[in-house]
Subunit: 207 residues, 2 copies
DNA sequence: CCTACCGATCGGTAGG
DNA sequence: CCTACCGATCGGTAGG
């Protein structure tokens, strides 16, 4: 997050800098509701009145939690990318390049399919994010891309993936898997099955 | 288009139903400008004042060409999908399944990379399209998907593509290639080279 | 967390 | 294709 404390603690008892658990929980609800509103109506047409109404609040009350609508959007973005990055950590422990890439493909597909509101906003409302927050999000996104690029590189070296430029390979795989949010129908489609399709197309039958 | 005439011509000289070439050309400029404005600011935040200003017009003058902002968005959508469909026609003449799929992958990549404004609006502003126009666009989009699905099917039958569900395979390929509009940098990237990467990943080295 | 309110923006129209 | 304008919406604030 942008406002994270990086300086060491001052001595003595800190004076209510820690938000209460109730505050954190309520903030979480607000961010989730905002994600759904912005998914359905877009950032500009989705008003703070809409978000407040979905929470049974008045618009002015939201300003107790965020300073601006722009900050609320940032919080949706931060949650999406932080969640996605965290969910990659298990895959990164896998040593075999082919299996690691398989796990990353599954992770990305399932992430996007499981949180359609957050990822729809993340992918489609990107130009609406205020420039103040852009660099923070971009840094985390670059981490994400790097993970995929290095996984592609290893799989190419291993000979399990066709020899391609790692950046192009990573973008191809990210596109294939992220695109899910555009067409996925939860009643009809299965993320695991689609992930298997991608793996089969790229890496051939699983041994 | 939604308002296309399908009934036969009445007898006698038609009374100025044909728009003049000047009108058509000006309309074209307006639609292109709208695509750029909606790409940069989004549909809701991109005002008719913005579109008019970019054309050195006043907002009210746009209403000589379109009945509403919603119609202007529809015209951007229609142009994007009509253009994309038209550009597939050459590929459809190719008989060999592997080569046909290769050509479709190239077409889609180059289409998206060449018209970033139209395709960014098409992909990201879809929920903003008024329901009146939705069915028209969806029908054309389904045609588009069918072309890719059938090409996947043929390539699978031929044995040049891994045996996968044709719908999932088509969505995977469409995602891989369409995603280009999210990351492509015209100064750095080459659409043809990226298309070759996709082909290599999916179909192996070109023989 | 609320009521009441302001200032600005915007799609659309009147009338030419 | 223009000037002038209306009605509605919306982010944000005052003050409690």
């Amino acid at each position: 997050m942008v406002a994270e404390r990086t300086t060491p603690r001052r001595p003595g008892r800190p004076r209510n800098v820690e938000p209460s658990p109730e505050f954190v929980a309520r903030m979480s609800e607000i961010v989730e509701t905002a994600a759904r509103v912005f998914q359905a109506k877009g950032y500009d047409a989705g008003s703070l009145d809409d978000v407040a109404a979905a929470l049974d609040l008045r618009k002015a009350s939201l300003y107790y939690y965020v300073h601006s609508k722009a900050e609320l959007l940032y919080r949706v973005f931060d949650r999406a990318i932080t969640l996605a990055l965290a969910r990659l950590s298990d895959a990164l422990l896998i040593e075999d390049p082919r299996r690691r890439l398989e796990a990353l493909i599954r992770d990305q597909t399932v992430n996007v399919a499981r949180e359609p509101a957050f990822f729809t906003v993340f992918f489609d409302q990107r130009p609406r994010l205020a420039s103040t927050y852009e660099s923070d999000i971009r840094a985390k996104e670059r981490q994400y891309l790097r993970v995929f690029r290095e996984a592609v590189e290893s799989a190419v070296d291993q000979g399990s993936l066709s020899p391609v430029d790692p950046r192009y390979g990573a973008q191809a795989i990210l596109g294939m898997t992220s695109w899910v949010y555009k067409w996925f129908d939860p009643g009809r489609d299965d993320p695991e099955r689609f992930a298997s399709t991608c793996i089969e197309l790229l890496l051939g039958p699983t041994g």
